[in-house]
């Protein structure tokens, strides 16, 4: 145990002392802060698009309704700014676009150096109303707003013509059903708390995947460096293979979980400050029913299984190029769970996910993602036992492979690899 801890401590310190560690520690919070800050700033600072609105219909009933809708945006900010046409417009709707072209294409600017985002021309009469939209931005959301307002008004006109009173129409428009989500488990109203396990399960599965990917990558590179710099033989003469293997795995796990711990702490603090209700619900979900221990079990077993595989592969390679050849099949395997994880969020009990839960290499991801649906106990126990047996087998093989690889020289082909695994040296 003494040697295992010393090896783990050396691994941990070796990585913590690198610039890369601190960069990766800061990368996520800084990146998220930048993304959130930038999108918030863009949202707040972006001016409402300038629009020209021409209502050529008899009575011009649509124009004021559309203008009112645009003036009433989220947070009291206008959705769009209706401006006067910068030039006298012809009466032919089709000619209006040509008249406004220099402003619509940005060759000329409106007052305040703003670009004209679009021109809406509502024309026609009766039930043959048309909306011509002149814009070079096909994704402009204002178009849908205009269509919805005009469509609603046409519907009201038809109903009024059929004898429905305007007062009744207003009352009818105000009618809305009360929709209530109920949880079948608690028979009570569903809240965010009911949806959280699914989200947390999905998040935990993705977390496990990223921990394996980053942790195993660090391990692989570390072992390759030790192999190429001939340190492994010295280590093997000073400690047992399990001490070296688990020491390295523990050390790198420490590195990975330090980063996650810092991120988690920062996230928890921020959530408690800005969304204390959500933070409380997350805490209830994780602590209630021992879900946190369920996640921890799969996280530990999954990490151990893949870390052992990657460490053993590293022991056979002196360069990352050599490692890539051996890693190919493992990387393909690791991408399969990701494809299915998003399914687990919506339909955690689909047969495909249940079947994949029984494949030990996928068990940690699938069972973590399925946590929300409360898989049957026999499935939890069965897949857990199968996975633990596989972990034990993988660790045993990895130990032999590590020893054989550490003492080998030169390139190892597949036949040589199998022979060394069978011989253990």
């Amino acid at each position: 145990m003494r040697r295992l801890i010393k090896i783990a401590a050396r691994e941990y310190i070796a990585y913590v002392r690198t610039v890369g560690f601190w960069l990766s520690m800061l990368a996520l919070p800084l990146g998220m802060g930048l993304v959130l800050g930038a999108s918030g700033y863009m949202e707040a600072s972006a001016p409402a698009p300038a629009l020209v609105l021409i209502d050529q219909t008899p009575g011009q009933t649509f124009g004021p309704l559309v203008a009112r809708k645009f003036s009433d945006g989220p947070g009291g900010r206008p959705r769009a700014d209706i401006v006067d046409p910068p030039v006298a417009l012809p009466s032919d709707p089709r000619a209006i676009g040509a008249a406004l072209k220099p402003w619509l294409t940005g060759d000329l600017k409106l007052e305040g150096k703003r670009k004209l985002a679009a021109a809406f021309v509502i024309h026609g009469q009766g039930e043959a109303i048309a909306i011509d939209v002149w814009t070079d931005n096909p994704l402009l959301s204002s178009t849908e707003t205009v269509r919805t307002v005009v469509s609603g008004q046409m519907e009201r006109s038809r109903l009024e013509a059929a004898g429905v009173s305007p007062a009744l129409l207003l009352e009818a428009a105000a009618l809305k059903p009360t929709v209530t989500d109920f949880s079948p488990k608690t028979s009570e109203k569903a809240s965010l708390l009911n949806r959280l396990p699914g989200v947390i399960g999905f998040g935990a599965a993705m977390l496990l995947w990223s921990v394996i990917f980053t942790g195993a990558g660090i391990l692989l590179n570390g072992v390759i460096e030790e192999k190429s710099s001939k340190v492994l033989e010295v280590l093997l003469s000073s400690a047992t293979v399990p001490e070296i293997l688990f020491g390295k795995i523990l050390g790198v796990a420490g590195v990975t979980f330090t980063v996650l711990g810092v991120w988690g702490t920062v996230g928890t603090i921020l959530m408690n400050v800005f969304a204390p209700d959500v933070a409380g619900d997350v805490g209830k979900v994780l602590m209630g029913g021992g879900l946190i221990f369920y996640f921890a079990f799969y996280l530990a077993a999954g990490y151990l299984m893949y870390a052992s595989i990657f460490t053993a592969i590293g022991a056979f390679c002196e360069t990352t190029r050599e490692a890539q050849t051996l890693l190919g099949p493992i990387m393909i395997l690791l991408t399969i769970p990701v494809i299915f994880l998003s399914q687990a969020l919506r339909r955690p009990d689909t047969p495909a996910l249940e079947i994949m839960s029984w494949i030990p290499l996928f068990t940690p991801f699938m069972m973590t993602a399925r946590a929300a649906s409360g898989p049957p106990l026999w499935q939890v126990l069965g897949t857990g036992i199968l996975m633990l047996a596989t972990v034990a087998l993988v660790v045993w093989i990895a130990g032999r492979a590590f020893r054989a690889g550490a003492l080998s020289t030169g390139k190892v082909d597949f036949k040589g690899l199998v022979a060394r695994l069978r011989g253990g040296e």
Partner: protein, 312 residues
């Protein structure tokens, strides 16, 4: 005196290849044993079995009383043939870490590391990263790391390879000091001169088999003395001298030839030389040479001299 290390009919096979064949020898406590042989003779395979890094196919070992080095690894110091240290560590950190694995507490390991680095002229380099040290300096650091915990058995696999003559002398001195302090030192080499200067006991290995096991003097006694004659003389004339068993001829740069005459066991070099002068042979230089361990190795193993490397 008890044996710190003994092998009894040890064989190691890798598939169809026999790396070590029925090898038996013992290294006595507090002595320096040279484990000699050309590259590929089975030296590293043997040392790995001693350390417990691989298992013998047959035969038994005793390492400080244990069946291999694993149970007593804290009492063994090992310098592998292929050297390596963590490149981003400083010498002190590397020594403290490796000595720590052998059970030496960190404060004591740090004290010894600094002292030993100073003694080896590496005091100024003790806080530089190993990747910034020369190969010779890094090799010294690794040797210090192997012995900082004061092991009872020190195993050095080709410790002199890659070192310049000055560092080779320094290393020889360190090995002598280890033995003087009571450690048993086993080192492998294919350079006979180091073994000749250092060893109490040598084991010669060729093709995985033991060719000789005894003292340096006993090994050298197996090789013939030689009379070396340089001048304008033919090999046939040299071969006809009394007591000469065989002659090896080599051309000299300035013209003429060197005739190295191997003498028969009871022959007198003086008589052969007298006879040469009496015959009026053109001799510009002569030397009556005692056999070296290198000569002994050739006789004992049948390995051609061009398969051996000459010491720097």
């Amino acid at each position: 005196m008890d044996a710190a290390l003994s092998l009894d009919h040890v064989t190691k096979r890798y598939g169809d290849f026999t790396a070590v064949n029925d090898l038996s020898f013992a290294a006595r406590q507090g002595r320096i044993l040279g484990f000699l042989g050309p590259n590929g003779a089975g030296k590293t395979s043997t040392l790995r079995m001693v350390l417990g890094l691989s298992s013998p196919t047959s035969g038994t070992l005793s390492v400080l009383g244990a069946p291999d080095g694993r149970p007593v690894r804290d009492r063994i110091g090992f310098l592998p043939e292929e050297r390596g240290l963590y490149r981003r560590m400083t010498p002190v950190e590397a020594i403290v870490f490796l000595a720590g694995l052998k059970g030496l507490p960190a404060p004591e390991a740090r004290r010894r590391a600094r002292q030993m680095l100073e003694e080896q002229g590496l005091g100024a380099a003790q806080n530089r990263q190993i990747r910034n040290l020369s190969k010779g300096m890094a090799q010294k650091v690794q040797l210090i790391a192997a012995i900082a915990h004061r092991p009872e058995l020190v195993i050095l696999d080709e410790p002199f390879s890659g070192l310049d003559p000055v560092n080779q002398q320094t290393l020889e001195s360190m090995i002598r000091n280890l033995a003087r302090d009571g450690a048993t030192v086993v080192f492998s080499t294919h350079v006979m001169q180091h073994a000749e200067r250092l060893c109490d006991h040598v084991v010669l290995l060729a093709g995985g088999r033991k060719a000789f096991d005894g003292s340096v003097a006993e090994a050298k006694a197996r090789a013939p003395r030689a009379l070396v004659l340089e001048g304008m003389l033919e090999a046939a004339a040299a071969a006809a001298l009394p007591g000469v068993a065989a002659v090896a001829t080599a051309p000299l740069d300035g013209g003429g030839q060197r005739q190295t005459c191997a003498l028969e066991a009871q022959a007198s070099g003086q008589e052969a030389l007298k006879s040469a002068f009496a015959q009026g042979l053109d001799i510009q230089r002569f030397e009556l040479r005692e056999p070296s361990l290198h000569d002994a190795f050739i006789v004992l193993t049948g390995t051609a001299p061009d398969q051996m490397e000459v010491a720097a």
